[in-house]
């Protein structure tokens, strides 16, 4: 299934509407807290197409993580529905890979054993994936570090390792929760480019949550802008930048103007 996605030409602009994979239909999540019910996500609806790179931006606490965890089946919605390829998401799905905030490597395992962790849990034979993993390690510059433990790796290296861990078993959908939020600006640019490179090679369907409007604009085909809590869809922004993206594009008038618009949109909804 994913093999076919890999052969897609890398520079194709997202002009033709791709076939829909993820449907989020009036997703609503109410947390029961000590101080009463808390509406975290309010009738959020969106569709995400095959091979699309969608970013979700919004102010802190607006329910981005809540949305992503519902997409991954890690927790249930209070009402509304999420379907992946036509079947409702009610629990973790094998075609989904999550990338968590702050690498989230297991400190008692070395790099290779961390990368093989999904295979152990899924009881999947890793042998056919060895060349894939090796290739990924080389792409992210971690070849030769297989026996290192997480504490011996820098923050950027750890985050790259978690990227490899997610891609290792070839999921067709990647859900990423502020994966580079804790990194410095330079490492972050580097990681963004790396992710775009991997995506252009493998054409995963990506939902990428971030605080950073610049990061979102730089990476995405489409941006879902969220309102402050309770999180609603404020607007959908289609990014009209060619691919492959380059860092220079970040200073183009279009980029700067669109970033300002999104910022104002979020600020306006904060004031309300």
């Amino acid at each position: 299934m994913a093999a076919e996605a890999q052969t897609t030409p890398t520079t194709a602009a997202a002009s033709a509407r791709p076939s829909t994979r993820l449907v989020i239909d009036k997703a609503t999540k109410i947390y029961q807290t000590a101080t009463g019910p808390l509406l975290a996500l309010d009738s959020f609806s969106a569709e995400i197409g095959e091979g699309e790179f969608v970013c979700v931006v919004g102010p802190s606490g607006c329910g981005k993580t809540t949305l992503l965890w519902a997409l991954s089946g890690l927790h249930p919605l209070t009402s509304g529905a999420i379907t992946l390829d036509g079947t409702p998401v009610k629990g973790p799905r094998p075609e989904i890979g999550m990338v968590f905030q702050e690498a989230n490597l297991l400190p008692w395992r070395n790099l290779m054993k961390n990368i093989l962790f999904p295979f152990e849990i899924k009881r999947l034979d890793a042998a056919p994936y060895r060349t894939r993993i090796q290739h990924l390690l080389e792409t992210v510059g971690l070849a030769g570090f297989e026996n290192k433990f997480p504490r011996e790796l820098s923050g950027g290296m750890q985050q790259r390792a978690s990227l490899v861990r997610c891609l290792s078993f070839d999921p067709s959908v990647m859900l990423m929760d502020e994966p580079f939020g804790a990194l410095d600006a330079f490492t972050r640019d580097e990681m963004n480019l790396l992710l775009l490179k991997l995506w252009s090679e493998q054409r995963k369907t990506i939902v990428f949550v971030t605080h950073s409007i610049v990061e979102a604009l730089f990476m995405a085909d489409r941006i879902l802008v969220m309102t402050p809590r309770p999180g609603r869809l404020a607007r959908e922004v289609v990014v009209n930048l060619p691919r492959p993206r380059t860092l220079e594009m970040q200073s183009s008038p279009y980029f700067v103007e669109t970033a300002r618009e999104i910022k104002e949109l979020i600020h306006a909804s904060v004031k309300k």
């Binding site: 965890w69 089946g73 079947t87 968590f100 297991l106 849990i121 997480p150």
Partner: protein, 284 residues
Amino acid sequence: MADELLEKIPEFRKDTDVKPQDEGFIDWTALTHVPTARNRREFLIIVGVAVVVVTTIEILIRAFQVPNYVLPAPSGIFNALVNNFETLLPHIGVTLQELVGGYLIGATIGILLAGVVTQAPLVEKIITPYIILLVTTPMLALVPLLVLRLGFGLEPRIVAVALAVGPMVMINSATGFRRTDLAKIALARSYGANTLQIFYKIRFPIALPMIIVGLMVGGIFGLLTAVGAEMVGGGVGLGSRLVYYSSLARMEAFFATILIIATIGITMYVIFFLIGKKWASWEA
């Protein structure tokens, strides 16, 4: 495959990721984080000082003619150790048998109980007072009672050792199992992990450093209890030799026996220190 993944998924709270952990009131981890010689020079200095200390004691005891029954000279103790080693050997065997037997029983029950009990906070709260009671009660006090029920063989002592080791291992392991890291559990869940997998791939490794500390402290408690129980009754075991030699005022042999007991204790300590270095060093 998707269907078997659809088991109950807990709700997560993002602010509970990697909470500072409650380590109980005693920081036992100090036991696994002892400074050791870093190089040959340090090692030589450490050994050198030890030799000087022993030699000084020897010289002082001879110079002041300290009577044997107060403190025998190191050389005398060493001679007694060599001369009596053969007669002591079966007693060493007995003590080790009690220690290993009781330890295996106690430690296994302790770890299992901790793993199960920490899954249900209420059960844990109900059980903890009894465990603390068991930790603080010297199991030696129960030996006469156990002897009454189980006779003069090894059984009462093995039970006493198990009773001393179990709660100690349990209480430390429970502290370890309580250190849950929801982000890591969520990671495993996202790959469809079931409860059992989460237990042995996430919870257990996280708990392991504390379990090792528990095993080490438990071992030391076990040795104390084994020797103490032998002093209370019965003619075999290193503890019984302590009573025997002191009743005959054979102080060299008495101290030689103590030396053997200390060696057993230190060996246990070193074993767990090395295990900790291998399996728990990721935490340091």
